[in-house]
């Protein structure tokens, strides 16, 4: 569970934890049933206030991404839920927005961007098949 906190960019620390756990889950690096680090352990590792970690875990629980089990501990929920899919789409949307903004600045049309995406997909598939 790799999380990196920066206190210089203004984003509240609990939100940085929430976003990064969401990202790890959406990217498949945290899987359903995986246990999140206990609050105290993560707080000491990141050097942040334990209440901040607790708040992040509460938000994640509220969003259905993780669940508390009776035996204490917080675990990643089953990601087959529509909510998990929505979260994955949201993360991709952010990246696409950034890509489109950059393309516009470089004077490259949306059609060309789409073509480029398809080309890259073909290229990646070919290299994967050769492995």
């Amino acid at each position: 569970m790799q999380i990196h906190i920066s206190a210089t960019d203004g984003i509240p620390i609990y939100l940085q934890i929430v976003n990064q756990v969401k990202y790890l889950v959406a990217a498949g690096r945290l899987k359903a049933g995986d246990e999140l680090l206990p609050i105290r352990v993560l707080a000491e590792q990141l050097i942040v206030n334990p209440n901040t970690v607790a708040r992040a875990y509460r938000e994640l629980e509220g969003a259905g991404l993780v669940e508390k089990r009776r035996t204490a501990g917080t675990y990643v929920s089953d990601q087959g839920s529509p909510l998990a899919r929505r979260e994955r789409v949201r993360i991709l949307t952010e990246r696409i927005d950034a890509l489109l903004a950059e393309a516009r600045q470089m004077d490259i049309t949306v059609d060309d961007v789409v073509k480029l995406v398809q080309q890259r997909d073909t290229a990646l598939q070919t290299s994967r098949n050769q492995e």
């Binding site: 906190i5 206190a7 210089t8 960019d9 203004g10 984003i11 509240p12 620390i13 609990y14 105290r40 707080a43 000491e44 990141l46 050097i47 942040v48 206030n49 334990p50 209440n51 708040r55």
Partner: protein
């Protein structure tokens, strides 16, 4: 600024209308502050703002000239035994008896504190890589800070007071100190009061913050509230302006022509509506780091 306590428990430190003069210089100016029990309280301010003077009042090293100071409900000057025995303190200059060896320092300090936990002290000594036989005066600056931290922590104080604990230390020692703060309050009900001008550290570890400036408290609130209530908003106006129109809750403002950037306190939605009412469009709206909030408050 009204600031209701999160719990009904009485505050662990209560400073009421304290003024302190050194000659004709006013170090504390009719200052009131309450530190609630539990959690980490960060005291932030520039050099000479009054942080150390305030802490010396909490420790009973200075007597209030006017007003009152209560720690655990007691006057620390009248009741040093009842207060100091429950406080762990690390001073900014980390004054320790130079002629002692580390082991002697531990046994010496133990004698003052009935609650001294010898096993915990030994655990800390090993974790901090401190040599029992090394003389205090031969310790590096970082090891000296670690030794000071050890004797402040080993009696498991209810209140840990750290005055600029990180100043002049390398990142590894800073991490030890901040880690100790986190572990201390992870123990239910303990309180840490620390002063710092390294605001990224304060933002990481403090639950609650007070900004002190020229001997007065400018702002005290839970960290979440401070973060939620400060925004940096850039507005674009229909025409070029010589000066920025006033926006509700503005702390500071800079810019030129049609684009002006405001640092303001208030809810994001409220501010957007106020901007719209002025016929401006919001082109950027971002949260601020504690550092930026501090600077705008001090300069605003």
């Amino acid at each position: 600024m009204p600031d209701p306590f999160p719990s009904s428990a009485p505050p662990i430190v209560e400073i009421h209308r304290v003024t302190r003069q050194f000659g004709n210089k006013t170090a504390l100016d009719d200052l009131s502050l309450a530190v609630p029990r539990g959690g980490v309280f960060g005291l932030i301010g520039g050099n000479g703002a009054g942080k150390t003077t305030l802490i010396k009042h909490v420790l009973g090293m200075l007597r209030a000239q006017t007003g009152s100071v209560r720690v655990f409900g007691l006057d620390p000057v009248e009741n040093p035994v009842g207060t100091l025995g429950r406080i762990g303190y690390l001073s900014e200059d980390r004054d320790l008896p130079n002629w002692m060896r580390v082991g002697e320092l531990m046994r010496y300090t133990q004698a003052f504190f009935p609650t001294w936990d010898a096993a915990y002290a030994e655990e800390l000594r090993q974790a901090f890589d401190l040599d029992d036989n090394a003389r205090v005066k031969t310790l590096s600056r970082g090891q000296r800070a670690r030794a000071g931290l050890l004797v402040a922590l080993a009696h498991r104080p209810e209140l840990l007071v750290l005055d600029e604990p990180s100043s002049g230390l390398d990142p590894v020692v800073r991490r030890d100190i901040l880690g100790a703060i986190i572990r201390t309050i992870a123990d239910e009900g303990r309180t840490v009061l620390f002063s710092s001008h390294l605001l990224d550290e304060v933002e990481r570890v403090a639950d609650r913050v007070a900004i002190i400036h020229q001997g007065r408290i400018l702002l005290t609130a839970p960290m979440d509230e401070i973060k939620d209530s400060h925004r940096r908003m850039t507005l674009r106006f229909g025409e070029s302006l010589d000066r920025a129109p006033a926006l509700v809750g503005t702390i500071s403002c800079m810019g030129r022509g049609t684009e002006w950037t405001y640092v303001c306190s208030g809810e994001s939605e409220q501010l957007r509506q106020a901007a719209q009412a002025m016929g401006a469009t919001v082109v950027d709206d971002a949260a601020l780091s504690l550092d930026e909030i501090f600077v705008s408050r001090i300069q605003g």
